[in-house]
Amino acid sequence: MRRVTYFLAALALGASASAAAQAADLPFESGKLLLTGGVTNVEGVGGGGLANWATITGYETRDAIGANVHATYVGLKDYDLRTYGVGVGFYDRVELSYARQEFDTGSTGAKLGLGRGFTFNQDIVGVKVKVAGDAVYDQDRWLPQIAVGAEFKSNDKGAIIHAVGGKKDTGVDYYVSATKLVLDKSLLLNGTVRMTKANQYGLLGFGGDKHDDYRPQFEGSAAYLISKRLAVGAEVRTKPDNLGFAKETRAFDVFGAYAVNKNLSMTLAYVDLGDIATFKDQRGVYLSLQAGF
């Protein structure tokens, strides 16, 4: 029920903000082609499902501002993850985002000795700047669209994080992404290198008893455009393995992203987030709804 409320709240917010923007005559617009701006990923950043892309969120062009709200639910074998947030794209150049993640241990919480329904919350503030290329227009060049960014993450369960060997409850990820739309093959390709200390995206803190240094991690996505509304693809994301008590493994997903129109898109995925806090093979469904204006 709570999840449904998020979705409805997100949509209502999107619709009313859109009306407010029009009333105030702000430079909002819907100028990009469907899906070419990507969707919002699990960390609130413009991208696919798990990976960051170099695209700037929203349907704005270089002359305006675009924004969206999103709500994401990931139902895994032993955990649930809920994310909701807002992203703003400025002039197809700069993206600012905020997301709140709630990692709900459900009945697994009791098995871990944390208590049933114990939930780790994390706030993520993201900033991304497009530095070169254009994923859509540069069809006659190999140069992809390149963006650099940072995510400032802050977790509210410092005591538990320290108890399991985590070093900090806050951390910053730095990344560089390259995204290329290969239109004549109807393909979208992305590669991201992320410098991070985050344990399970930061949900289990930053750094650990095993390692406490920045290490490059890779995120790759490939999507095939079936129609202007529908793209299907797959992603892989490697993660550090800093905590001694539980091995952390790579994440993987296959997704479909559907744009109902420029104001509403949905992402449905099958995710395999690997092992999380000693519980193996966390697979499940990923559903994200995004309302833009």
Binding site: D63, Y137, Q139, D184, S227
Partner: protein, 156 residues
């Protein structure tokens, strides 16, 4: 024809072929803004010249009534525009057409077009191609040729 003539002609033909290979081929239709797609598969997917003519007969009224961009076409000779677009797309998709119109940069230079204009026009083109039943993959092959023209067409 004497043996000598035949030999001379063959030699000239060889020389010409040789020099054609040695020097880079000039763009056949530089004003069209891109090299055509190789092969005729895309042209066929557009239902050849008749299909492209139908697309443009739908597209020109579409862009000239689209509230986002219609003002841009006030006072424009739409019959010429439709003809030029038909030839250009026929040429770019690999069809047996010559473009013959003005250069993409020159013709749009004074219009002060924005990305919003460009993308709106591209969206309208997608709708017209949909109406003709052009498969999405073939549409994307044409759009891939048009997209880089943004760099010369969009000036604001």
């Amino acid at each position: 024809m004497t043996k000598f003539h035949t030999a001379a002609l063959a030699a000239i033909a060889t020389l010409m072929a040789g020099s054609a290979l040695a020097e880079p081929q000039p763009m056949a239709n530089p004003a069209a803004g891109a090299e055509p797609i190789v092969g005729d598969a895309t042209y066929k997917a557009f239902h050849e010249k008749e299909g492209i003519s139908r697309i443009m007969a739908d597209f020109v009224p579409r862009i000239t009534t689209d509230p986002r961009i219609k003002a841009r076409f006030e006072g424009v000779n739409l019959i010429r525009l439709q003809l030029m677009l038909t030839n250009q797309v026929c040429y770019l998709t690999g069809g047996p057409c010559e473009y013959g119109g003005r250069d993409m940069k020159e013709v749009h230079a004074s219009l002060g077009l924005t990305n919003l204009d460009f993308n709106a026009l591209a969206e309208d083109l997608q709708l017209s191609m949909d109406k003709e039943g052009v498969p999405f993959t073939a549409q994307n092959q044409l759009v891939a040729k048009l997209a880089p023209m943004q760099r010369v067409i969009v000036t604001k």
